[in-house]
Symmetry: C2
């Protein structure tokens, strides 16, 4: 079974949480964003499923995963599915739901990160909402970022396995996602995120461990991972990192 | 098994999506928000699990559900769990994931609805971010509300069972949630939501069908359902419904 991942080309975005899971598990997949349009990839391939009149169960937005004839949408839902298939989640129901609960909390955090640079409308440029972004980001950096990071640090500490992973004794998809968020915040807000992460060394270690996994290291050094950039979820505007 | 639902007293909020599922299924549950503080309910009961040092797997925020000794957090995750237990979701994996995918899209919609009146910070009053709220709401009403409602109307239409429900041939938890959102938008933005809902009669019927379910009708007329109000998710500020 070859999975097909559909996401916007040119950015990591929410698709990257899925990519990290597929890569870590060594899954057989095609990243449609990297397939040229003339070979059936890119944005038109994606639009066909979002906007096509003949799609019985259309996703609202990318990313979505094509598995045979099935389309699975919503980042956290894709990871719920892959977690079971690829051995990236506990097998028992309690552990599976707890992992998913953490992933949904990552999703909330990611929404708030996005809205620091787009507090008014996703359809407008940052420059068109910069005053509002300044105000929203100030609250985010002061209150929300420490609250979320502190929460995940607490979850790490209270894991009774003391494994350094968030859930149980081995890595799950939510470890990959939290490591990605720590990396993204470090790119976007190098100054302010450092001040907070200095208080949560467990999260810094988690990031290091995830990106030192052989499969993740191979992925990053392959050149297939799009670098963080100013069109993605995590953006570095120095004036906001004040 | 008596379920315990933990959520803020005095508002419907995200807890209401869980209440509607519990009520529709006739589940045995205690709504801790309605239990007086001196009897172990209300906010202190909730804080004990959010902030207690001895909670191994703390929820980030309400709502959460206590099931025996387990705590299950995140609205959509609670519904994923209850869907299976209470017969409010399809039994097969494909149907279960599709229902959950729709619920996660409801959750995104709800976040955007919340941010119309709180675009800068949840910790500030509406009046402290009214200028930004005016701008964000204009975009929401013009672009986002029609996009989400149009999406759910399309899902209804394309359900090959033609049942008038979103998934398969009978009601699932996501029908209850979408009906609740339609009701909430009608409260918050009576003028602008009507203009859009007139184009999507399937959604108006869905709302009517859900609130005419005997168990839901009994719940609403029992007085246990908190009315929509100006502290919840859905707020009616006439100046925004322009």
């Amino acid at each position: 079974m070859t999975y097909e991942l559909y996401y916007w080309p040119g950015i990591q975005g929410r698709g990257e949480f899925v990519r990290l899971a597929l890569e870590e598990a060594g899954a057989d997949y095609v990243d449609i964003a990297l397939v040229p349009e003339e070979e059936g990839g890119g944005v038109p391939a994606l639009q066909r499923y979002i906007a096509g009149d003949d799609v019985e169960r259309p996703p609202f937005a990318p990313p979505f995963l094509k598995v045979g004839r099935r389309l699975i949408g919503q980042t956290s839902n894709i990871l719920l599915f892959l977690g079971t298939k690829l051995g990236l989640a506990p097998r028992d129901e309690t552990g599976r739901l707890w992992t998913h609960q953490l992933q949904l909390t990552v999703a909330d955090f990611v929404d708030e990160i996005h809205d620091t640079h787009h507090p008014i409308a996703a359809s407008l440029y940052y420059e068109e909402q910069q005053a509002e972004a300044t105000r929203r980001t100030a609250d985010f950096l002061e209150h929300r970022m420490p609250k979320y990071l502190g929460y995940f640090a607490t979850v790490l500490e209270r894991n009774k396995h003391g494994s350094g992973w968030l859930v149980g004794s081995s890595r799950t998809y939510v470890d990959l996602s939290v490591a990605q968020v720590v990396a993204g915040l470090t790119y976007a807000f190098p100054k302010r995120s450092k001040a907070v992460l200095d208080r949560f060394p467990g999260l810094v270690s988690l990031r290091e461990r995830v990106f030192a996994r052989p499969a993740i290291e191979a992925y990053v050094s392959s050149g297939r991972r799009t670098p963080f950039n100013q069109m993605g979820l995590f953006r570095h505007y120095p004036e906001l990192d004040a």
